[in-house]
């Protein structure tokens, strides 16, 4: 089908561009690796101290999923910048006048971001293993699956906002305004259950809370639970909404 062929063409082009500048893939990894190295050891002390809220077992199996979400939030949410420079170069307009599927212009880019993020996630998981994380292989695969779906949501929505705003100056604060609270409320560093009731309440209204809880269970080898089902529903639902909104923006006559 024409859409898949077009998506592949755009994906390959964008991937080639990424490989031309692999520095960004590495720079994106620096932040979570720093957390792993400089914050992880503190966390294992706290968790080891028997503080309530931490699941029993390896503290890195708790911490690495959080870092994966952080990687996804900061990696995929900022891809909107690249669509602004593409628009500025006239690339978007040039392709919109060709018969190429306009949805493929989005899908090819999102696919590239998913692949980039998965590569980064694998490196982060390996680093976690080096620090003493122990998690079942199947659980890690499920975690990577979550990361891929999260990447689809965030990258699609980031491209949409970038395409609509067409201004880096406006995009950066806007993304931070959403990403930072979403990250804090998901309980990336510490179990959100340590917090007071109101904080847990707000946290329950944000999507990444559910996703990260499910990922942590997967890393602890627990699969068939309500938490896992909730996590999958939230991740897939979020992706569906984001992709729907984004493809409408890309197909619109005037964008």
């Amino acid at each position: 089908m024409s859409f898949f062929r077009d998506t592949f063409l755009i994906f390959r082009r964008q991937l080639r561009l990424s490989l031309r500048n692999p520095a960004w893939v590495i720079i994106g990894l620096i932040q979570p690796i720093l957390y792993l190295v400089f914050f992880g050891p503190l966390l294992s002390k706290i968790a080891g101290g028997g503080l309530s809220g931490f699941p029993p077992g390896n503290s890195y199996s708790f911490f690495v999923p959080g870092l994966l979400i952080q990687l996804g939030l900061f990696g995929a949410a900022f891809v909107g910048f690249t669509i602004i420079s593409d628009w500025r170069a006239g690339v978007i307009e040039r392709f919109r006048v060709t018969p190429v599927s306009r949805t493929a212009l989005l899908a090819g880019r999102v696919l590239r971001d998913v692949v980039t993020l998965l590569v980064q996630a694998v490196v982060l998981v390996l680093a976690g293993l080096a620090f003493g994380m122990r998690a079942p292989f199947a659980g890690v695969l499920i975690g990577l699956g979550f990361i891929a779906v999260v990447a689809i949501s965030l990258s699609a929505i980031s491209y949409t906002v970038g395409l609509l705003l067409k201004s880096e100056d406006a995009l950066a604060p806007l993304i931070n305004m959403f990403v930072v609270p979403l990250m804090l409320l998901s309980g990336i560093m510490l179990p959100i259950t340590l917090g007071p009731g109101w904080l847990q309440g707000i946290s329950r209204a944000t999507p990444f809370r559910y996703i990260i809880d499910a990922m942590r269970q997967a890393f602890h080898g627990v699969y068939a639970t309500t938490v896992m089902a909730e996590g999958i529903c939230v991740a897939v639902g979020l992706a569906a909404v984001c992709v729907f909104v984004a493809s409408r923006a890309f197909v619109r006559e005037n964008a």
Partner: protein, 341 residues
């Protein structure tokens, strides 16, 4: 067969505070093999019209058939048949990715049109030669010169051998040499490939040198249309400037020439007279004979053909020169309005 047939094409931009009628109902007919120039100052509605004809912007009113496909019902059909090079001025560039190589850009363009690889390779080789880009295949687009980059933008619009090509301000920002070089390429498009070319420009020399036909647009309406020479004749006529030794001589000559049938208008300026005449080169001998008959001695004679700038000045009361400040009216197209969301 007409390549473009548009009727009452209009576009209104609405925002919370105001409504802008960027294009207010234009009729356009372009025949096969024509090079047609769309001439107007910044903000006149050129780009908005072009964006509508290339399916980038949905018209708020009007209908059009572009390259045989209905613009509103079959935009994909239009896209398959036309080539387009976006404008490369202001904050947007002309379509090539700075971090891609020349050959990568040409190849992906061929791929999205589903041109078989062997045909694409031959076509790309031909375009590289024709547009003097051979040898630059492996270069990143950002390392090309302005003229090379612009030729690449145009080559990208030609990969699928479209019969109708839209060029938005093709030479803006280029030095005079690159500009006239690009004109040769546009002419070759028509002469060698039989393509129809629709271009926008705010350079009068460009419209004059390149286009078979010119449409002048201002404030979203087409205010004049025709072959450049015909437009010049119809609207301004030729100007003959006669200089006499003294102001008295000038005044006397004014009286003598006032009765001449060819003379439409006389303006005295000290010892000089400015005459507007219909066909200057034919009127001149008779005028000189009658001055001779009256015993008046001329110091010099000058015959000036009107330029499209004169045409524009006559039509709009404004000049269209590069260095003139742009003063869009309250209803002019806002900068890049077509791309605003």
């Amino acid at each position: 067969m007409a390549m473009i047939e548009a009727e009452g094409l209009a576009r209104v931009f609405r925002s919370r505070r105001h409504t802008v009628e960027a294009v207010r109902g234009v009729d356009i007919t372009v025949g096969e093999g024509e090079i047609v120039g769309f001439l107007g100052p910044n903000g006149a509605g050129k780009t908005t019209t072009l964006r509508m004809l290339t399916t980038l912007l949905r018209p708020t009113a009007g209908t059009a058939t572009v390259a045989g496909a209905d613009l509103l019902r079959d935009p994909l059909g239009v896209r398959r048949r036309i080539g387009y090079a976006p404008q490369a001025i202001g904050i947007t560039a002309g379509g090539s990715d700075p971090n891609c190589t020349v050959i990568e850009e040409l190849r992906i363009q061929a791929q999205v049109y589903r041109i078989p690889p062997a045909d694409a390779a031959a076509r790309i080789r031909l375009l590289l030669d024709q547009l003097e880009l051979a040898g630059l295949e492996k270069r990143l687009c950002k390392t090309l010169s302005g003229g090379q980059r612009r030729r690449l933008d145009i080559a990208l619009g030609l990969v699928h051998s479209p019969r109708l090509v839209f060029l938005d301000e093709p030479t803006t920002g280029l030095d005079p040499q690159s500009r006239s070089n690009l004109w040769d390429h546009v002419r070759a498009l028509r002469d060698e490939l039989g393509s129809t070319v629709f271009l926008t420009t705010h350079y009068l020399e460009e419209a004059d040198a390149l286009c078979d036909r010119v449409m002048v647009i201002d404030h979203g309406k087409i205010i004049a249309e025709g072959v450049p020479d015909e437009l010049k004749h119809r609207i301004s006529g030729d100007v003959i400037t006669l200089s006499f030794g003294t102001a008295a001589g000038g005044a006397q000559a004014g009286l003598v020439l006032a009765g001449q049938p060819d003379v439409k208008d006389i303006a005295a300026d000290g010892p000089s007279l400015r005459l507007s005449v219909d066909h200057g080169e034919q009127a001149l001998p008779a005028l000189l004979r009658s001055l001779d008959g009256a015993g008046l001695t001329l110091e010099s004679v000058q015959l000036a053909r009107p330029t499209l700038d004169d045409v524009f000045l006559t039509l709009t009361g404004r000049s269209l020169r590069d260095d003139s400040p742009v003063q869009p009216g309250p209803d002019a197209e806002p900068e890049l309005a077509g791309t605003a969301s």
